[in-house]
Symmetry: C2
Amino acid sequence: MALIVQKYGGTSVGTVERIQNVARRVKKHRDGGDQVIVVVSAMSGETNRLIALAREISETPDAREMDVLVTTGEQVTIALLSMALKQMGCDARSYTGGQVHIRTDSAHGKARITEIDDMRVRADLDAGRVVVVAGFQGIDEKGNITTLGRGGSDTTAVAMAAALKADECQIFTDVDGVYTTDPRVEPKARKLDRITFEEMLEMASLGSKVLQIRSVEFAGKYNVPLRVLSSFEEEGEGTLITLEEEGVEAAKISGIAFNRDEAKLTIRGVPDEPGVAYKILGPIGEANVEVDMIVQNISNDGTTDFTFTVNRGDFDKAQGILQATADALGAREVVGDDKIVKLSLVGVGMRSHAGIASKMFECLSKEGINIQMISTSEIKISVVVAEKYLELGVRALHEAFELDQE
Amino acid sequence: MALIVQKYGGTSVGTVERIQNVARRVKKHRDGGDQVIVVVSAMSGETNRLIALAREISETPDAREMDVLVTTGEQVTIALLSMALKQMGCDARSYTGGQVHIRTDSAHGKARITEIDDMRVRADLDAGRVVVVAGFQGIDEKGNITTLGRGGSDTTAVAMAAALKADECQIFTDVDGVYTTDPRVEPKARKLDRITFEEMLEMASLGSKVLQIRSVEFAGKYNVPLRVLSSFEEEGEGTLITLEEEGVEAAKISGIAFNRDEAKLTIRGVPDEPGVAYKILGPIGEANVEVDMIVQNISNDGTTDFTFTVNRGDFDKAQGILQATADALGAREVVGDDKIVKLSLVGVGMRSHAGIASKMFECLSKEGINIQMISTSEIKISVVVAEKYLELGVRALHEAFELDQE
């Protein structure tokens, strides 16, 4: 008998009929002998409806009250799903975040889970009940309702799985698993049976938006086996996200991620003194602009060039700040380009296999794609190229690393 | 500085605009120096929308989950109202029934309040905040969400007022107070400035649906001054419901209540033996039919006639049961009439003033209205008459007892 946590998102529970479908699916698992905890989001559209009501009152509604408001969305779903399960003869009980004691800090709208008391849930599971938990929400020390931020239901599911030492945490989404790259760009993209937490983190943060990144971090930290599945297909094993140890090291490369939402800025001819990086990036961070890649080469004649990328939406703002910094530091010039993309090769195999970077650069060079920036980590190589090369680059790399083959 | 509890029903908070109106009203009180606790219902239509979702899943949805579902309605309102107050610069904080520790028994859908922990609320009030509480809901000992039954927000308001020893509990409704009778029947009906709890109970249970009867019982028991006010008029003192002591004894009669929703049944020629009343009414009660008036006259030749009234909707069912009882007891016959109404004269003055019953009967007799049944209590005289005499009877009594005059 396994203990499984299943998470269904807003689209999967978007109508009463879909909630009944979820109930049938949950019941099938339960009937198969597994203990099941189900975490659900608000019915799709509901959270936006509630936010719109708040916006009628204030452009910046009170954060505490916003959490009181939007958490009703998941509360509706847990009640309806539990009713549907009971109606099918499958005993079930619903819990809000507060009721199941998902303790968080007090950061309304983006709280972090600090503790879960699993007593009540265990008693229900032992009594043969399916436990239905409202995703995305918790309570702080003083009993105030908090939310984990949008999409936080994934995090709730993983946290429940960790607290109860579940055998698997299954995230049902509108895709049937994690792919080697975006199938809309490369039709030969192949679904991965397995991927490591680290690879998944690199894939997710690089723009493959299958899972909430925090939930993957959480799963990795507590070693909760995580599976991504389609909520609309009855069959299919999805993609299992696990620790490296479990036999995935044979694969050199898992996939190719990309991010269209980037722009790069370079400050040229900065005097190369200690603290210059801070002087350049400090004002950018203070303006709440997130910086992604940062590249600084060795200095030349006492000056250096410093390049970084930001979200495309922050390009103008960042450029203005950087120009002021350049003037203050006596730098030669500021140049920028918002027609770039980032391509990343991700795979734990890089650790033990040499020559992957050079193979990547060779492949891009053969296609005549100029590389503007390079940044590497243990399991990832990212390059910045002109936007127009995105599709060509992804397909060339996909083929070069034989990602369409098992 | 007074402590006031205000309760606004679903119509008063039916739109964001109306919620903002309520906020303005609350702020005015707060600015005037009073401490204010606001109890609110779900936005009108919301509870029905939620119930409809549940009905799509099951005709008899699980009672526990039904409470989880419908309590989201008030939770939305408390969040929006608190936001609106803060937006106007009036500090406020919302609480669900569970958060404010409104402890109830576990009777889902019709729970009774057992305890209120006023610690958090007091701290907020002392900090100058308006406290916004979700009506109609609580939690049981195990932390399950419960509801007090429909309309139970009045009860929440009175219970909060009792627990915090508030100076007044104000119930805002769509009427501007309690009237001597229904103005739609007697245009001369006059708004009462004051009425006693007991009179209000008789008026409410007899069909003047201004307040939830349980909230009046509660207010009487804990001596919470209760005021009924219009939520749509800025001015007006409404009607204050208090203990008798406070100078209302001068009024002989407070009002005339009536109930159209009655039907009567008589079993004739029942052998008059001990236990006969139980033998007649036992099966009726077992069938969940509520009995209102009961009249049994002295026996005649060892048999008696026994008459009672039921809700008109239960008439056929009750008649069938009664016929079976009549057969078993060897009674002569069963007769019924569902074209009757009950008129009631209510007033604490009856206790100290003789001759009120005879004046009532004289008045009806003058109008040629035949009285079919009479039943009396300490502060009420009820008569059953043919339905067609309802309006005539109400107006005649209203005039005879000079209810249109202060």
